[in-house]
Subunit: 117 residues, 2 copies
Amino acid sequence: MRISEAASRSGLKIDTIRYYEAEGLIPNVARGSDGQRRFSTENVDWLTLLYWLRETGMPMKVMHQFAALYAQGDETIPDRKEILLNHSRLLAKRRHDLDRCDEILSKKLEIYEAYLR
Amino acid sequence: MRISEAASRSGLKIDTIRYYEAEGLIPNVARGSDGQRRFSTENVDWLTLLYWLRETGMPMKVMHQFAALYAQGDETIPDRKEILLNHSRLLAKRRHDLDRCDEILSKKLEIYEAYLR
DNA sequence: TTCTTGACCTTGAGCTACTCGAGGCCGGTA
DNA sequence: TACCGGCCTCGAGTAGCTCAAGGTCAAGAA
């Protein structure tokens, strides 16, 4: 498929996909005889994973490491597993932050209510 | 108190506080006779709120609106309430994103496990 | 008293991770 | 044949900090 479909399936924007490719985060993007990118379903699965990792706060440095491991093949799976487990810890921290912010918001909203009453 | 204490209490970095002040996000920051900033507890409460809003993804544009309303005084409380309620909706969306990412991670980790077994 | 240290100051440059605009190619349609 | 939409590259622009350079000042050590 072409880039626009890859974008709508993965969640990434077209520009971001091109940027990621230029950064070396996406291995093996084929080109048609017209010079346009063609994305395999494996490409799209990878992009989707990148989208969610980034969206939930994985730093670009780690994305680069992760992509480099992915490009090296299956023998790097233990390392990649480690990265995903770390990210999962980050998710827990983010969830905690959301809870904390929720608390602060409700306190603030209570104060507003008291004022408005 | 001085900037370093305001930083450690609010969560913001020193540089970020100065940047926010320059941007007009922090009203009424006093200065001592030495020219250094002095933060009141109200200042610090405000900074703490800004920290959490930003940390959980409120865009700077909205922060600017929110700060402008705050600077205008109590009659803007209904507007500020609206902004905080909107943000609270954003938090829900983020939480949903975290859940989705968790799902994807566990699927991925399962695949890794299957490979490693 | 002089020296050093540390916290603060301003200004301006640099950085990250995109995001957008300009200008161009190509295949399909009216 | 003229246009249109989707793709391309390259380079500049943006958001939100972040840091480096160079300076002031107060307090404590030598």
